[in-house]
């Protein structure tokens, strides 16, 4: 029972982590986040379903185009719901991103349809026996992809010129601009990467879940809790916090029963943040005065 819960928790936790990585990217570059990250996840699943099932395309081009459209949506989020407000030093981007997410959810409701649809990928649901447990291929694949993306992000931001340039933007925009860094471009790219990650999460979870317009709402909420828990300034921290949150949820359900899952998991988040205000793996921001 515990081993089964561990496998479930790792799969779910990776999804939370993948979505939370999106929060990390935009926060690291611009100090802002897309609060409707759950809608970006939903768009990934809906686009992939439309291309692969409705149009009958092979999965690889369908997923590739879905991810490209998600990235484009991220640029739109930044241009429409973040930039105009952040430029004026206003925090209204908080509500603007939520509003844009609701707009996306409702547009999908009217265009994609009102009924949830099943995204069947036989290979994804095929089970592999591991240590007496049946583990589906997706449950193995999702944590692997999540950890690979976290590692890739970490090395991109610390080991490449482009990554360092993006991190420089959040520290001092004017100095970054004077050094020749395209600041608006860097922020737009961060938003594109953020929604691309969310889209990837949506495509990965679709076969385990159902595709519908509000499939990402609760995920987005939990992913934000995970991002804060992990310390939003660390890619590894965010991904690990996702895994910890997912496993904790599953373990509470398996050991104590489902009645305690939400109460205890969110209580633990609050306790963790009370003890470690910068999250499990975050560091306090250093400001030179």
């Amino acid at each position: 029972m515990i081993a089964q819960a561990l496998v479930s928790g790792l799969g779910l936790g990776s999804m939370y982590g993948l979505l939370a990585l999106g929060f990390y990217i935009t926060y690291s570059v611009s100090g802002t986040v897309n609060f409707a990250q759950g809608s970006s996840m939903m768009l990934g699943a809906v686009f992939a379903y439309t291309f692969a099932v409705t149009f009958g395309w092979p999965m690889v081009p369908a997923a590739a185009l879905a991810l490209a459209l998600c990235a484009l949506y991220g640029v739109v989020v930044e241009l429409v719901a973040v930039r105009p407000f952040a430029r004026r030093g206003s925090s209204a981007w908080l509500m603007a991103t939520v509003a844009l997410g609701i707009l996306a959810d409702n547009t999908v409701l009217f265009t994609f349809g009102k009924e949830p649809r099943g995204f069947v990928m036989p290979w994804a649901n095929a089970s592999v026996p591991i240590g007496g447990l049946n583990v589906s291929l997706l449950q193995i694949l999702i944590p692997l992809i999540g950890l690979a993306l976290a590692a890739g992000l970490h090395f991109f931001s610390t080991g490449t010129r482009w990554g360092k340039a993006m991190l420089a933007v959040v520290q001092n925009r004017d100095a970054a601009r004077l050094m020749g860094i395209n600041v608006p471009g860097a922020i737009a790219a961060a938003y594109a990467a953020s929604t691309l990650f969310a889209g990837a999460a949506g495509i990965l979870i679709a076969p385990l879940f159902n595709v519908h317009s509000d499939m990402g709402t609760l995920f987005g909420l939990k992913a934000f809790a995970v991002a804060i828990l992990g310390g939003i300034s660390s890619a590894w921290g965010v991904m690990l916090a996702g895994l910890i949150f997912g496993v904790t949820e599953s373990m509470i359900t398996a050991l104590l029963g489902s009645a305690y899952t939400q109460i205890l998991s969110f209580t633990l988040v609050i306790v963790a943040l009370a003890i470690l205000p910068n999250g499990l793996f975050g560091r306090a921001e250093v400001k030179k005065v």
Partner: protein
């Protein structure tokens, strides 16, 4: 000249309606239960067309045409309440039909009773909907009732699967709670106890932890209560675990594309229904199926009427409501309510009714009216009809 003649002939042929009586419908027309909401609509439309074609409802010496006005509650109690108020205060409906989801129906019950508005429930099975404790009760139902379904579920699990230690996996909402009470009481009556009782959220992706607890507790048959989406998550989680105990379910899976959502194991779920168009339908059954095929091009045969319970319950609910208005000789709420009590024998689609409602009983159907069904491909068939 010929055109004028044709026009005059048509006008002469049309019944002279004294007035239109509005029938309100509040149900889920979007979201996971949209298909069930559409089935209820179709049942009502076919019944109303039939009534109007026969000259409408006679109130006093005048014929009144029936008109259906629909509102989408999106399976949300707050939206259901707003829609119910609008239909009563603005549209002045004579009878309100609705309640696909028990939480929505339960939210509408006080409005109906306070305003003396007859409220007919063609789907939601929550026991307290009709047994709501109100001194002046205006809520009627042509549908399954949780406490009776729960007894039937246990009976079926024992008879078909020799259940000794059934476990419950229930959606975490008032409907799930209603069935937890009903199933626990049904088990207690037979001196049995559940192996375990687990809840899951409507948007849970993975129900494996809850199911693992039930498996560890030695569950031999699963009692499932949830709408189509959540029920499909239970089936997919069981698939991932490689554990497939017999599943005896309330009728949630019937509300949508269960096979598409749950995959090939959908057929393992046996669920309760109040009607099936398969087998040898009665003359009323044949008439309704013919009307459905004529009205809706996507219905080519009995298997396309999905979910059949929505159509059948709504059809009978509308026919019985029209009789109640006719008995009342008025559209005044109290008189229509008493009109339901005056209904005697009526040959309906689901069964032949004989005094279906009394002041003590507002439920027209009982456990003897239930049938067991399963999804085979995309069709709901009585269990064992096809492998």
């Amino acid at each position: 000249m010929i055109r004028v003649f044709v026009l005059l002939s048509l006008l002469a042929a049309a019944p002279a309606w004294a007035q239109t009586i509005k029938i309100g419908l509040v149900t889920a027309l979007s979201g996971q239960s949209a298909r069930a909401g559409e089935a209820i609509t179709r049942g009502l439309v076919v019944a109303i067309d039939e009534i109007n074609a026969k000259g409408g409802v006679r109130v006093g010496n005048q014929s009144h045409k029936l008109e259906l006005i629909r509102r989408d509650d999106e399976s949300t109690p707050a939206k259901g309440v707003i829609a119910a108020r609008e239909l009563y205060f603005k549209e002045k409906v004579a009878v309100l039909i609705g309640g696909l989801d028990s939480p929505v129906a339960l939210a509408i019950v006080p409005i109906a009773n306070e305003n003396k508005l007859p409220f007919m429930d063609p789907w939601a099975a929550g026991t307290p909907i009709t047994k709501n404790g109100a001194k002046d009760n205006y809520v009627f139902r042509v549908s399954a009732v949780d406490e009776l379904v729960d007894k039937a579920m246990l009976q079926y699990a024992q008879k078909t699967h020799n259940a000794r230690k059934p476990g419950m996996i229930l959606v975490n909402n008032p409907w799930g709670e209603s069935n937890e009470k009903g199933l626990t009481a049904a088990l207690a009556e037979k001196k049995m106890k559940a192996a375990g009782i687990e809840k899951f959220e409507g948007n849970d992706v993975d129900v494996v932890p809850q199911l693992s607890r039930l498996k560890s507790a030695g569950t031999d048959v699963l009692f499932l209560v949830g709408n189509v989406g959540p029920s499909s998550q239970v089936v997919k989680s069981l698939d991932r675990m490689g554990w497939m105990p017999p599943i005896v379910s309330h009728w949630g899976p019937a509300g949508g594309r269960f096979t598409e959502l749950a995959g090939p194991s959908a057929k393992n779920v046996h669920f309760v229904q109040t009607y099936s168009f398969f087998g040898n339908p009665s003359p009323v059954g044949q008439k309704v199926l013919k009307a459905l095929m004529a009205k809706y091009p996507d219905i080519k045969g009995a298997g396309d009427v999905t979910p059949a319970v929505g159509v059948a319950n709504a059809y009978d609910a509308m026919m019985l409501s029209a009789l109640a208005i006719q008995n009342a000789g008025s559209t005044e709420g109290r008189k229509v309510r008493d009109g339901y009590y005056k209904i005697g024998k009526y040959e309906g689609l689901i069964k032949n009714y004989d005094k279906p409602f009394t002041p003590q009983n507002h439920d027209a159907l009982n456990e003897n009216d239930y049938v067991w069904a399963q999804f085979i491909d995309n069709q709901i068939l009585p269990v064992g009809t096809k492998k």
